[in-house]
């Protein structure tokens, strides 16, 4: 398959991009608003073309553990779900982090807590970048803001996961998952052969040849002094990721008096707010983190002496705002505007909020 331009939902873009990337396996369980991912894969039947395995599991818990099994064999495996289902996957995600196995997890967020709503939300920011599962670990987290990025982040996510042997997450939301846009799909890449996997991933549990030690994936260690050393190694890896893998996008930030910081769906709305504000003569810029972990703190910090204020726009009660305040060393007034429970604010609503904040535009 050559490069192709299609009109796709964000969810469909993820599915088609996964096949074209040469993913080995997808394991999922239906939940709104992301069910199109598995539906598209089942419709495409990639097992008849690339050989990719697609399986509907009995639960989100089983699905993430299938991903864990596949990852243990060095296979490129992924799962997707939405907020309540992602909560169920947290144990498996912690195991992936602890065994240093690469995998891709997609969260198309909906409003929580609990069963919540099926409408878009960004209220899993804390869960994703501050923990989620147990233990000191981080998920490489990508936040797409378009159907195109939904497709692009599949390849970026898998590549980063394998580069650092760490699970990666695409943290999307119901709006980006459901909106239809033009998407450029990359050409088909071949899946790796077993020989290639054995060469590129010498840790893969694919059966032990006589000339090497057993490959064992476990996260249990009875000797605390040894397990602390593992943790120290994990932390060193996270510092490396923080130094090398930060991604962000800037819109009119250079001359800005005020910055809106927003990701995903909120950033799409904020784009329009910047346009409105600029027409009114207010110098507003948009800073859009693309990686939520590692967070683009250093870049944001460079603006701290130039700004009169920052407004974080999030579809939640104010979660990312903590990282923004830390990034600018609390030296710039930082306010938050958000809607909760699946409500998407209008650009006008955000613009009014921008004007009403304490720094008085």
């Amino acid at each position: 398959m050559a490069e192709e331009v299609k009109l796709l939902k964000g969810n469909e873009a993820i599915a088609l991009a996964a096949i074209r990337y040469g993913a080995d396996g997808y394991f999922g369980y239906p939940i709104t608003p992301q069910s199109e991912i598995m539906e598209t894969l089942m419709d495409e039947q990639p097992w008849t073309t690339t050989g990719m395995v697609v399986l509907q599991a009995e639960s989100e818990v089983a699905a993430i553990n299938m991903v864990y099994g596949g990852a243990g064999c060095g296979k490129k495996c992924m799962t997707s779900s939405s907020s309540p289902g992602i909560s169920l996957k947290q144990e498996g995600i912690s195991y992936l982090a602890a065994t240093e196995l690469p995998a891709l997890i997609v969260n198309v967020m909906r409003g929580g807590p609990g069963l919540g709503t099926i409408q878009p939300s960004q209220s899993d920011y804390f869960q994703t970048v501050k923990g989620g599962g147990h233990g000191d670990y981080h998920l490489i987290t990508l936040a797409p803001a378009s159907a195109q990025e939904m497709a692009d982040h599949v390849a970026i996510g898998f590549d980063l996961a394998f580069k650092y042997r760490n699970p990666a997450m695409i943290l999307s939301d119901g709006m980006i998952g459901q909106l239809m846009e033009k998407v450029v799909l990359p050409p088909q890449r071949p899946r790796r052969t077993e020989a290639e996997i054995r060469k590129e991933c010498p840790w893969a549990a694919l059966g032990k040849p006589a000339n090497r030690k057993p490959n064992i994936h476990t996260s249990l260690e009875m000797d605390s002094t040894i397990w602390e050393q593992y943790n120290i190694r994990f932390q060193a890896k996270y510092r490396e990721i923080e130094a090398n893998e930060v991604r962000y996008e800037e819109l009119h930030c250079n001359d800005a008096d005020y910055l809106i910081v927003a990701f995903g769906a909120a950033a799409r709305i904020a784009q329009k707010v910047v346009e409105i504000a600029r027409k009114e003569g207010i110098k507003v810029g948009l800073f859009r983190p693309i990686t939520l972990y590692p967070y683009p703190s250093k870049r944001l910090n460079t603006y701290k002496n130039k700004l009169k204020g920052i407004l974080t726009v999030e579809l939640n009660a104010g979660q990312m705002i903590e990282d923004v305040k830390l990034a600018v060393d609390c030296q710039v007034p930082v306010a938050h505007f958000g809607r909760m429970g699946g409500i998407i604010p209008t650009p006008q609503e955000v613009y009014e909020a921008l004007k009403k904040t304490s720094w008085k535009i």
């Binding site: 080995d24 396996g25 394991f27 395995v53 399986l55 599991a57 009995e58 639960s59 818990v61 089983a62 699905a63 553990n65 299938m66 991903v67 864990y68 099994g69 596949g70 243990g72 064999c73 296979k75 495996c77 144990e91 498996g92 195991y95 077993e194 549990a205 694919l206 059966g207 032990k208 040849p209 006589a210 030690k213 057993p214 490959n215 064992i216 994936h217 476990t218 996260s219 249990l220």
Partner: protein
């Protein structure tokens, strides 16, 4: 005195795939015997380079320390889900899970039933000693009525704890299973029988016949607070009536 330790006189040896790591299992524990069988069969079938074992949470979590093959240690109860993906992504490999009664019949009930129902081409080795060994002898789903454990110190009370779960029997009518059997390793004859059944389970996995489950009714000397000898006798008198040995399904 003449040294009789000559190659021609040795009739029994440690299986090649069992390494020299000292085992953490208690004296008299069933795991050692079953590990020995698993290692022997994999070697005899020429599958050492094609096998991926899925270890559980429980005493056998450390199975990977003793049998020199590739292993993935699953979260508690999730071994059949892990094995499902490993086998589907590597159809030419021999994939088996090794689980206890807490892992397989309590927290992993859903994964067990659905892997069997899908007919995953894997072998499930199920060690049933009616107690949680690793955590210090608590009640498991298969703890028999009136049996005392740390969490039913006055004996399993049906009104409070429900009935012992014969999960293997539940797997029989599932169309995805091809071999369901209940065995033991308390006598030489029983060990030989279990070896035969494990061999068949591994053959089924390689032949793509569906899911095989070999339950081994087992002892837990520490959890039951008995000597190895007492434990075997108690198992015969008390566990065998609740979990009768024999082939439940072989198609």
């Amino acid at each position: 005195m003449e040294n009789i330790k000559k190659p021609e006189n040795i009739v029994y040896g440690k299986p090649r795939l069992i390494n020299d790591t000292p085992m953490h299992y208690c004296p008299g524990c069933t795991h050692g015997v079953v590990h020995n069988l698993v290692a022997s069969i994999i070697d005899e079938m020429g599958l050492a380079e094609k096998t991926i074992g899925i270890a559980p949470v429980g005493c056998a979590v450390f199975a990977y320390n003793y049998v020199d093959i590739d292993w993935i240690e699953a979260p508690h109860g999730r071994a059949p889900a892990v094995a499902t993906a490993v086998k589907r992504l590597n159809t030419d490999k021999m994939v088996f899970t090794y689980q206890g009664d807490g892992d397989l019949a309590a927290i992993g009930t859903a994964e067990t039933i659905h892997a069997c129902n899908r007919g995953e081409n894997i072998a499930i080795i199920y060690i049933n000693n009616a107690i949680y060994g690793m955590t210090g002898g608590q009640m498991s789903p298969t703890t028999i009525v009136d049996m005392k454990t740390a969490t039913c110190p006055y004996g399993r009370n049906v009104a409070l704890n429900g009935y012992p779960l014969k999960i293997t029997d539940i797997l029989v009518p599932l169309e995805g299973t091809c071999l369901v059997t209940r065995e033991a390793v308390h006598t030489v004859a029983a060990v030989k029988r279990t070896k035969k059944m494990l061999t068949k389970a591994f053959e089924n996995a390689m032949a793509g016949k569906g899911t095989s489950i070999v339950e081994v009714v087992a002892t837990c000397t520490a959890g039951w607070k008995m000597s190895a000898d007492q434990a075997n006798k108690w198992m015969v008198d008390n566990l065998f009536p609740a979990y009768p040995l024999g082939v439940l399904k072989d198609v």
